[in-house]
């Protein structure tokens, strides 16, 4: 800011103010063109700049550069590591997936196998059962046929006996079974 403590001429030492205005007038107005102050400023500026440059170039810039390099290296290595881990994880995931697929295929094959076996077993058993049932059926039919035949033969006997009894009641004469049979046969033949 332009708030200079000695900006009031009344405050400034009269000799100094007089000297400065005089110098400003003689120097063409600008205090910057009073060349008697150039030498000191130039020498000191070069000195200060040299010290500042040396400190920055030899101490602070390498320090910061090192930090930045270390950081860049750290980040790069971390990224590299993350990439490796990622690749590893991907490989593991792929392996796990392959394993799962394999297991699934195996279980599917096993299931199909078991199913086929069970079906075969079932078919076999069913066939056996069918055979047994067919056998029993045939047996039963045979028995029924035998019983029917027996019954049919019994019917003849019964009929003969009944006929004997009827004839005996009606006529009082005893007829032999053979006669009844012959008569029945004759009747059958007539019919």
């Amino acid at each position: 800011m332009a708030a200079e403590p000695t900006s009031q001429p009344a405050d400034a030492a009269p000799a100094h103010a007089g000297a400065s205005t005089e110098a400003a007038q003689s120097g063409g107005g600008l205090p910057q063109f009073k060349f008697e102050f150039w030498g000191g400023q130039i020498v000191w500026l070069i000195l200060i700049f040299a010290v500042l440059y040396t400190l920055l170039a030899k101490v602070f810039v390498p320090r910061l550069r090192k930090i930045l390099d270390v950081r860049a290296e750290t980040i790069a290595s971390a990224v590299e590591q993350a990439k490796t881990v990622q690749a590893e994880a991907d490989a593991q995931a792929a392996a796990a997936k392959a394993e799962i697929d394999q297991a699934r295929a195996a279980s599917r094959a096993l299931a199909a196998d078991a199913k086929a076996k069970a079906t075969a077993e079932l078919n076999k058993r069913q066939a056996a059962e069918d055979e047994r049932l067919a056998g029993e059926l045939a047996q039963a039919e045979d028995r029924i046929r035998g019983l029917r035949d027996a019954a049919m033969s019994n019917v003849n006997g019964i009929a003969v006996e009944t006929a004997q009894a009827i004839v005996e009641r009606l006529t009082g004469a005893k007829v032999t079974a053979a006669d009844i049979k012959a008569a029945a046969r004759a009747g059958q033949g007539a019919a």
Binding site: M1, A2, A3, E4, P5, T6, S7, Q8, P9, H16, S20, T21, A24, G29, L30, P31, Q32, F33, K34, E36, F37, W38, G39, G40, Q41, I42, V43, W44, L45, I46, I48, F49, V51, L52, Y53, L55, L56, A57, V59, F60, V61, R63, L64, K66, I67, L68, V70, R71, T74
Partner: protein, 261 residues
């Protein structure tokens, strides 16, 4: 009211012996206000860097973030303009930038602005151009003439272009010095003039009567001072930045001679 130029007056602070350099005459090595503000600027830079990088860690602290920000800013600038070879010149550009920036800012806080002294800006400009010349001749030797003879230009154009290039090269230190000097000088003179208006208009208004309106003018001037001060902060940074950029551009001309333009 003191002259707006009074703020640029140099007066001794610490008298030191005058040294007689043969060929140059007597050089007064007394510390004056200009040298004092340069010393303060340089000390502040060193102090700030010493504190902020004392416990430099990979994960930076608050101060270190600022330092790294400035560092990265100039580093990007140098490598952006000169290329990867720019790293060798980074400390110089960094020093120039920090030193000018700090002196400019100090001028806004303290009484004296070292960069408003032509002796200072001219020395900085001459140092920069000398570095450019030394680097140019060391790297290119006799090929330095290519600086003034752009490749791919027909000979009849060269008759015109070469003197222009040569004169523009000669004017580089002049413009470098005058740009910074002029900006600082003008800004501070304007501030001083507006601040002076505040005082003189208030003094006028104190007389009473119609002159009371002077208070309004004083308030306007004060607003102007505030606005100009913020503008000067921008200029303070911008001029340091421009000086650093131009240093890079001039260095690039000789480092990559014949590669570009």
């Amino acid at each position: 009211m003191a002259s707006p130029m009074h703020q640029f007056e140099i007066h001794p602070v610490l008298p030191l012996p005058t040294v007689n350099v043969p060929g140059l005459g007597a050089i007064d090595l007394s510390i004056n206000n200009s040298i004092l503000s340069m010393l303060i600027a340089a000390s502040l830079i060193v102090l700030f860097f010493a504190v902020s990088t004392a416990k430099a860690a990979v994960v930076p602290g608050r101060l270190q973030v600022i330092t790294e920000g400035v560092f990265g800013y100039i580093d990007d600038l140098v490598t952006g303009i000169i290329g990867h070879e720019g790293r060798a010149f980074f400390p110089f550009v960094f020093t120039i930038f920090l030193f000018i920036l700090t002196m400019n800012f100090l001028g806004l806080f303290l009484v004296f602005t070292a960069t408003s002294q032509l002796a200072v800006t001219a020395t900085l400009a001459v140092m920069t151009i000398l570095l450019v010349l030394i680097v140019g001749f060391v790297r290119n030797g006799a090929n330095m003439y290519k600086l003034f003879v752009p490749a791919g230009v027909p000979w009849y154009m060269l008759i015109l272009v070469t003197p222009i290039e040569f004169i523009s090269f000669l004017l580089r230190p002049v413009t470098l010095a005058l740009r910074l000097f002029g900006n600082m000088l003008g800004g501070h003179v304007a501030l001083k003039v507006f601040a002076g208006f505040v005082v003189s208009l208030c003094a006028l208004a104190a007389g009473g009567g119609i002159a009371t309106l002077g208070y309004a003018g004083a308030a306007l001037s004060l607003g102007g001072v505030v606005a100009l001060t913020s503008l000067e902060f921008l200029v303070a940074f911008l001029q340091a930045f421009v000086f650093a950029v131009l240093t890079c551009v001039y260095l690039n001309d000789v480092v990559n001679l014949g590669h570009h333009h």
